[in-house]
């Protein structure tokens, strides 16, 4: 279980950064647990911060309560990527953020996907977000898997009545 956890990066709804650790320390933590060397960790922290567009020299020493919601969530993503996991599990990561910050971060996730090396499992209640980001959408309803399909199929060829009713509104919006 421990190994599986380490192969899998988690991003939480409310960033889940530890308030008593700096941005740098938060990102370093999973690597320390994985037993990496301090130099390796320092290099990786800087690289990850650059990747999430937070200049290390400015942000590494800040504490989570000194960040905006969007910045904190970027750090959350950086921490999830720290051990370079194959799978990234994002549990409603942007639901607490406002529109502009949110679309910025969605773009960031899409870029990450384009690099092609990671599987991202992205949990969301926002259908537009799902349609925009995903290669494949899985609809879960009352503990049952309704359908797995690419976005276009989800819209054009719903497999169950529930999926059809679920995507009715996006369908209408996208056709207009």
């Amino acid at each position: 279980m421990g190994t599986l956890r380490r192969e899998c990066g988690f991003v939480f709804q409310n960033h889940g950064l530890f308030p008593h650790l700096t941005v740098g320390e938060n990102i370093a933590l999973p690597m320390q647990i994985a037993g990496k060397s301090p130099e390796q960790i320092a290099r990786q922290v800087d690289k990850l911060l650059v990747d999430v567009e937070l200049p290390p020299q400015e942000y590494a020493r800040r504490y989570p309560d000194q960040l905006s919601g969007g910045q904190a969530q970027r750090v959350g993503v950086a921490r999830a990527l720290a051990n370079d996991p194959d799978i990234l599990l994002m549990d409603e990561p942007f639901s607490a953020l406002d529109g502009i910050v949110r679309s910025e971060l969605q773009q960031f996730v899409r870029q990450l996907l384009k690099q092609g090396s990671k599987t991202i499992i992205f949990v969301t209640h926002d259908l537009m977000e799902a349609l925009e980001i995903a290669d494949q959408i899985a609809v879960l309803h009352e503990g049952r898997l309704e359908q797995i399909a690419p976005p276009t199929e989800m819209l054009g060829n719903p497999g169950t009545p529930f999926v059809e009713s679920l995507f009715e509104k996006p369908r209408r919006l996208l056709r207009i």
Binding site: G2, R5, R6, F10, F12, N14, G16, F18, P19, H20, T22, L29, P30, I33, A34, Y63, D65, R79
Partner: protein, 522 residues
């Protein structure tokens, strides 16, 4: 040059350090025990159900009672005092550790788990740091309580600022009392503010100052005993080598301290014996246990107290000749307590009825029986113990058949003032109180022998750990020397004229020719 302190700066610093040391050691040890207990309570509902009520009950035990409870096991001095303080400090530390951990946002535990942290890593790296403010609040409470309760340690000879408070109370000396009470209060307020400041810090800042605080605390913990030893060094040279010193104990009031000083100075000056003064014990049980355990070698006691408190027997009838009473008491002490009477000093400190000298002359009163007629127009002021005790007012009433106009219940210390100012006309007093002469009172003779004998004796252990010869010599030397009039005068000098017991004792020994007169410099 006269210092504004009623004690030497050296002694003040020593007592202050002792106090700090007691507090710090106690809180530190309570942390070592309390934090794991708190974690256990947090993890296990069962532990919480057992530990919480236990630490709560401990909190309700009065300080002095807890010390008395520890005494048979641990004796007197630093060890039982620190144990009592640790026990008291446990509650806030255990409770706040458990509450603080409970208050940590569950989300962070999930995050920790998701990062692959084990339970111990989560505890150390996530739960403790996040629970820190609540845990610090517990340490703060424990520290402030400890500073306060540490003042009680003086009752069992562990020193600290309580020593001044104890002596101040004993000698009715407010300056001395405040020398202990004010610094203790300031210490409590200071530590409260300091720890409160830490408690209010934001977590990142707290994390930064934390190592410095821990290092400072450790330095204090280690250095206070060293400083203390260094300070004690030159005072008692070579204190730790060679045979044990003669330890003289007393309880905590003027008369006891004066007699303690008389014995101590006599031993030092006449017999050249090194003496340790363990003065100011808080109760008869405490000091008697210390004597039974050979932690002190002798102390002044009163025959009636030995009967009632230590032997838990009825006092022999007051009509029995005194020498016979003392002989019987000695037998009982040897048989049942392993203690013996070393000397009888020559005075009694018992209840007596006092009237103003003017009234005594006008109404021709010399004995208690003389109150029979005039009593009807007199108001009596008695303390509650005197009214309640079988051998107090009930016995007097029965034996002498006196009726008073009214009887007012007053505190034992207030009756003197009440009699002086005419609020009452006859009062229950202690027969050796200095105020009897100073306020111009006359004691009425107990010619029908109602009041039990409270002769002042020196009690010692049957198997002393220091030379029995010296102890016997001291006892012989003082046998019958201290009359009621002499002890009353000395009590007055200490209580009213505010002389120190040591000074008064020295003067007595000079006058009695027991030590050579001091050469006074012009």
């Amino acid at each position: 040059m006269k210092s504004f302190l009623p004690v030497s700066p050296h002694e003040f610093a020593l007592r202050f350090l002792e106090h700090v040391q007691l507090t710090f050691c106690a809180v530190f040890a309570a942390l070592l025990i309390g934090v794991p207990l708190g974690v256990w309570c947090y993890r296990s509902a069962w532990a919480k159900r057992v530990v919480f009520p236990f630490v709560n009950i401990i909190q309700t035990i009065p300080g002095l009672a807890l010390l008395a409870f520890l005494l048979p096991v641990m004796g007197i001095g630093f060890a039982p005092a620190i144990t009592a303080l640790i026990i008291y400090s446990l509650l806030p530390i255990v409770r706040n550790t458990a509450t603080g951990l409970q208050g940590v946002d569950r989300q962070f535990l999930a995050v920790g788990e998701s990062l692959g942290m084990g339970p111990f890593q989560i505890l150390m790296k996530v739960e403790f740091p996040l629970a820190a403010p609540v845990m610090i609040a517990g340490i703060r409470t424990a520290t402030v309580w400890s500073v306060g309760i540490a003042t009680l340690s003086a009752f069992i000879g562990a020193g600290g600022l309580g020593d001044f408070i104890n002596r101040g109370l004993a000698l009715n000396n407010n300056a001395l009392l405040l020398t202990g009470a004010i610094p203790a209060a300031l210490l409590a307020i200071g530590l409260d503010t300091l720890i409160g400041y830490m408690e209010g810090m934001r977590l990142p800042r707290l994390k930064k100052v934390f190592p410095a605080v821990v290092i400072t605390a450790m330095i204090l913990l280690v250095s206070t005993p060293l400083i203390k030893r260094a300070m004690e060094g030159p005072v008692f040279t070579g204190g730790n080598e060679g045979p044990r010193k003669l330890c003289i104990g007393t309880k905590n009031w003027s008369e006891q301290l004066i007699i303690g000083e008389i014995i101590a100075q006599l031993a030092e000056t006449k017999y050249g014996v090194a003496v340790e003064r363990k003065f100011g014990f808080g109760s008869t049980d405490l000091i008697a246990t210390a004597l039974e355990r050979n932690e002190i070698d002798l102390y002044p006691e009163y025959s009636g107290t030995v009967w009632s408190v230590l032997l838990k027997e009825k006092t022999p009838p007051a009509s029995m000749p005194k020498f016979e009473q003392i002989a019987r008491l000695n037998e009982e002490c040897v048989d049942k307590l392993g203690l013996k009477i070393i000397s009888e000093l020559g005075f009694e400190n018992t209840y007596a009825l006092a009237v103003r000298k003017k009234d005594a002359q006008e109404k021709k009163m010399t004995t208690i029986g003389d109150l029979q007629g005039p009593g009807k127009e007199m108001v009596a002021g008695f303390n509650s113990e005197f009214i309640g005790r079988e051998d107090g007012w009930p016995a007097v009433k029965k034996a002498y058949g006196i009726v008073f106009k009214d009887i007012i219940t007053l505190d034992a210390m207030l009756v003197y003032e009440a009699l002086k100012t005419g609020k009452v006309d006859v009062a229950s007093v202690f027969s050796t109180d200095g105020r009897i002469d100073a306020f111009g009172f006359v004691l009425l003779e107990d010619d029908r022998k109602v009041f039990p004998d409270y002769s002042c004796i020196l009690l010692g252990n049957q198997r002393p750990v220091v030379s029995a010869d010296i102890i016997n010599e001291l006892g012989q030397c003082l046998m019958g020397r201290i009359t009621a009039a002499k002890i009353r005068r000395m009590n007055a000098e200490v209580d009213i004229e505010k002389k120190s017991p040591a000074e008064v004792a020295h003067q007595f020994l000079e006058e009695e020719g027991l030590i050579p007169a001091k050469v006074r410099l012009p």
